[in-house]
């Protein structure tokens, strides 16, 4: 037995949520579907495979002030940033929700990142199961699935003229407590990803192939932009800089990427990862070896954004497959 809600009721529920919360939902912006704050349910895009950019920026913004320092009459005052309002992120896909779980491991491990923790605390995730997989999707290979409810507070899945509703956490339960749901025997059809990858030996294979020429061959093609890191729901590297003016100093945190040449440059100019190959290799070692060693999960949830948006088709699925075969060269279809 499942609980369902009609499309009309869902709309009025979301409308109600908006009264005292920010509602962040997939919406059309210049022909791209992205997560953004919406002022009305009409703005929400329900018909999308996945958003162009991941929802991570609502927890880990592209740019955010961490605090402001004021100095007046010899007194220095540090003013933290307040996040007052509760938020709801509606329409998050299971792969992106799984990405949030991975970000939690990094940002909430003690000492927790205050800004991230507060945003996370004050936000409820409403998941939306995929009704169709995109060609780049491979979440089922990375431990999630198009209908996985494990990483959200409330899970919705489209059935007929409505959605099945499942409250997963206490937070989710609180939000739907006043909602009238009907009983139904319907359940959402199962969605399959276009490809299944063998991933179980990846970490083991990575351990033996650090010096392999394979990385240089893939890096030949790589143009070393930051697209893969910036569209990834799990990449979390950042840069911090202070911006002083005559009245105050702001400390700013911004996204950064291991693919940019300046990323590892130390004072004095030394760069531990000077070559393109070493930077490209870092990306995949971090995702497929270092992160699992430290946190137990691959740092990839199979959303496929990097696959689809890479200007030169550096495809993590291909790399996962290649690296488990001994002696494979880049680009060989073995």
């Amino acid at each position: 037995m499942t609980k369902t809600i009609s499309k009309k009721e869902l709309a009025s529920w979301l409308d109600g949520l908006m009264k005292d919360r920010n509602l962040i939902a997939p919406a059309l912006a210049d022909q791209q579907t992205v997560f953004k704050p919406v002022a009305s349910v009409d703005e929400i895009a329900f018909d999308f495979k996945n958003t162009a950019l991941s929802p991570k920026e609502w927890f880990f913004p592209t740019t955010e002030p961490l605090f402001t320092i004021y100095q007046k009459d010899g007194v220095t005052e540090l003013q933290p940033i307040d996040i007052e309002k509760e938020s709801v992120v509606f329409g998050i896909r299971p792969c992106d929700a799984a990405g949030m779980k991975l970000l939690d491991k990094v940002f909430l491990a003690p000492p927790a990142d205050a800004m991230y923790a507060e945003r996370r605390e004050k936000t409820t995730l409403i998941g939306l199961a995929c009704s169709e997989a995109a060609p780049q999707c491979f979440c089922t290979s990375m431990g999630s699935s198009p209908g996985n409810a494990g990483d959200v507070d409330i899970m919705l899945a489209e059935v007929g003229e409505g959605y099945t509703v499942e409250a997963v956490t206490e937070k989710g339960n609180a939000l739907i407590s006043n909602l009238k749901l009907s009983d139904s025997n319907e359940s959402a059809p199962e969605v399959k990803c276009p490809a299944e990858l063998q991933v179980k030996d990846v970490s083991k294979a990575m351990q033996t192939r650090f010096e392999d020429d394979y990385w240089s061959r893939v890096a030949d093609r790589c143009v070393h932009c930051n697209i893969c890191a910036y569209v990834c729901p799990n990449c979390h590297c950042f840069d911090i800089r202070d911006y002083p003016t005559s009245e105050k100093t702001e400390r700013i945190r911004c996204w950064d990427s291991c693919q940019s040449p300046g990323f590892t440059r130390a004072a004095g100019g030394h760069t531990p990862r000077p070559t393109k190959a070493s930077r490209l290799r870092q990306r995949f070692y971090h995702k497929l070896l270092y992160f699992p060693e430290r946190f137990g999960d691959y740092q990839c949830t199979g959303c496929g954004r990097c696959v689809a948006l890479c200007p030169v088709n550096i495809d993590i699925r291909e790399i996962i497959t290649d690296i488990q075969k001994p002696g494979v060269k880049s680009g060989t279809k073995a």
Partner: protein, 289 residues
């Protein structure tokens, strides 16, 4: 796919690699979506079967020459990319003796995104009046009489120019606010080869690290300016932009100004200097009148 072109590319690549003339052949191979192509680096004669050529070969491979300067390499180029090679040669960024140019008489490429490509040609291909490469060591295909495009290449630029200042500000702010500063536009550009880009300088810090409309505008404005008179219009920057900023519209504006003021088009010859690297004493360009 034109089997004839592909066979000629493969044969030539095989010959160049097995004779040791070049260390590597930079061409195209099939991508993982089974629909579009991607850049390929072939080091061994036994791998030449990977090489392909079709109307999804939109990448400008001249970009890669900057990182392959030590040994001689061969590169497969379309006519637009060939003009890129001329730009790099005229700016002394590559040596002619170290590049073997496999030029292809091109019938145009289609808009390409992973796992999907358009049927109709890209706009720049529809307006193209140069289907044969301007520089090559080996030519594939027969140059034909060039068509005369009936539409002005500056149509979209003129449309933007006709807007009011407020409309323009509004339009560009909306576009630049989307920028996530991934610098993919710079990285794929054959003209952006500076070891240290102005955007990454710390002292003075011309562009702050904040990813906001104001800093993003500064980045996009100067990126375009640095390419004025050098951009060959390959359209790579706009293609790779993950947030679909119409960067071509900026580059085209400067190309138009360069064409009108200096009667110059980038990359037609390796022997001439880019318009901003030279001058003409007699011109007055409307300054100080």
């Amino acid at each position: 796919m034109d089997e004839n072109i592909i066979n000629q590319i493969r044969e030539k690549a095989k010959e160049l690699l097995s004779s040791g003339t070049v260390e590597c052949v930079i061409g195209y191979e099939a991508g993982t979506d089974g629909m579009t192509s991607r850049p390929a680096f072939i080091y061994e004669a036994s791998d030449v079967e990977r090489l392909v050529f079709d109307n999804t070969c939109t990448h400008n491979l001249a970009t890669y020459l900057i990182n392959k300067k030590t040994n001689k390499v061969a590169v497969v180029v379309k006519p637009c990319d060939a003009r890129g090679i001329n730009v790099l040669l005229s700016e002394r960024q590559i040596e002619r003796e170290k590049v073997y140019v496999i030029g292809i008489v091109c019938q145009g490429v289609v808009p390409v995104s992973w796992s999907g490509s358009g049927k109709d040609l890209q706009m720049r291909c529809k307006l193209c009046n140069q289907h044969a490469p301007v520089i090559y060591d080996f030519l594939i295909g027969e140059p034909a009489v060039e068509p005369v495009p009936t539409v002005s290449p500056w149509t979209s630029v003129a449309e933007m120019e006709s807007k009011s200042s407020a409309e323009k500000t509004d339009y560009w702010n909306k576009q630049f606010s989307k920028c996530i500063r991934c610098y993919a536009c710079r990285q794929v550009c054959m003209g952006c080869y500076c070891k240290e880009c102005f955007v990454e300088l710390l002292d003075p810090e011309w562009v702050g690290i904040k990813i906001d409309t104001s800093e993003n505008s500064m980045w996009n404005m100067i990126r375009a300016f640095h390419l004025s008179g050098r951009c060959i219009g390959c359209g790579e920057c706009a293609r790779v932009c993950p947030v679909d900023i119409p960067l071509g519209l900026l580059n085209m504006k400067l190309a138009k100004e360069v064409a009108e003021h200096f009667e110059y088009r980038a990359g037609l010859s390796a022997e001439v200097r880019a318009p901003l690297a030279t001058f003409n004493k007699e011109e007055n360009l409307g300054i100080g009148e």
